[in-house]
């Protein structure tokens, strides 16, 4: 009996295991061994397509773990180039990538980690014109953007396209994350109906972020994606998870669908996508 045959014998979902290569079985063995995953779950991950919006503090750790886990297709959206002040937290970019588009730098690392998956870079800024076309090819969207206009655009486009997504936001030592399955649970506008007007949020210079806080939230987003793809566990639907690094506290707040929600309520007022004015990048 070959070594692989022995290994196959230990793992569940024998039929599905046969659809994995020996290399895949070895690469993913530490998660295939989990009863919640097995060969069946690994096939599901390999067939899942995830769009990560933003290759920054949230998108980097999130995409890294998705690639490691063998999520079969990862789309990356970002219009920016790598800057020195990004490297403190955006772990997909290295010093030698300075000046390169973030999507190319990120793709280089993800493919080096896992050549078994497909990584598709989108070097563009999402707008009301292009977002629905970009998200169409994916099963799940991760919002790791860094500004309110994009966040509301992502929410509205996902609700109007009935696309599940995971939202996270970070500032200084605080983080928030929620998973949104349109119409099943509340959306981001159910929680916060409108973006803040200019002047109501701390200025770009005042804001700051601890790199590790971005890592915590990005990895939570990756975990939500993997659970969604596997159909296992409870997602953060209708739950806003609020993290504070200084206290090292996690609190889950209950969020309900809002009948007056501008986009998913009974009488929606947002029926077309809006490009809000950019007033501050809270990076």
């Amino acid at each position: 009996m070959s070594c692989f045959a022995v290994k196959r014998g230990f793992l569940n979902g024998v039929k599905d295991m046969e659809r994995l290569t020996e290399e895949q079985i070895e690469r993913y063995s530490r998660q295939i061994i989990l009863p919640e995953i097995g060969g069946v779950g690994q096939r599901k991950l390999l067939e899942t397509r995830v769009l990560v919006i933003g290759c920054g503090g949230l998108g980097s750790p999130c995409a890294f773990y998705l690639a490691g886990a063998g999520v079969g297709k990862i789309g990356l959206v970002d219009s920016d180039a790598v800057e020195l002040n990004n490297l403190q937290r955006q772990i997909l970019h290295f010093t030698h990538n300075l000046g390169q588009p973030k999507v190319d730098s990120a793709k280089e690392k993800l493919q080096a980690l896992n050549p078994d998956i497909e990584v598709v870079p989108y070097h563009l800024r999402l707008t009301s014109e292009n977002i629905r076309e970009v998200i169409e090819d994916y099963d799940f969207v991760v919002d790791g953007s860094d500004n309110f206009p994009t966040r509301y655009l992502v929410n509205d486009a996902c609700v109007l396209s009935n696309k599940p997504f995971c939202h996270a936001g970070i500032l200084r030592f605080d983080g928030q994350v929620i998973t949104i399955i349109p119409l099943q649970g509340p959306c981001y506008r159910c929680l916060f109906p409108e973006p803040p007007p200019p002047g109501m949020v701390p200025s770009c210079q005042e804001a700051g972020i601890l790199g590790a806080v971005a890592g915590v939230l990005g990895v939570i987003q990756a975990t939500e994606v993997l659970k969604f793809a596997l159909g296992k566990g409870e997602l953060l639907i209708g739950k806003l998870l609020v993290f504070n690094a200084l206290e090292m506290s996690f609190r889950k707040l209950t969020i309900q669908r809002n009948k007056q929600c501008p986009v998913c309520g009974d009488r929606p007022t947002v029926t077309e996508l809006i490009d809000y004015e950019e007033f501050c990048n809270l990076i």
Binding site: D143, L171, F192, P193, R251
Partner: protein
Amino acid sequence: MKVKVRIPNVLQKLTEGKIEVYATGQDIKELIDNLDKEYPGIKGRICDESGNLRRFINVFVNEQDIRFLDGDKTQLKDGDEVSIIPAIAGG
């Protein structure tokens, strides 16, 4: 009613850096008025000119959104925990 109020990072400048403060009030409206006496300016950050909660800030009493309780008339009791949660966009 004396309750614990959790202050988000963006408002901690107004509470001398405190993450948690204690305040009193029969309901949320009175609580915010009292908070503003102790920490001037905080009400203006949470509520608009007409005194309504801003649309990018929510208040929770023990994990429940006051918009689905009695809004700013939500009654408070000793030991309640109130959280002020603003939208944050960094990434």
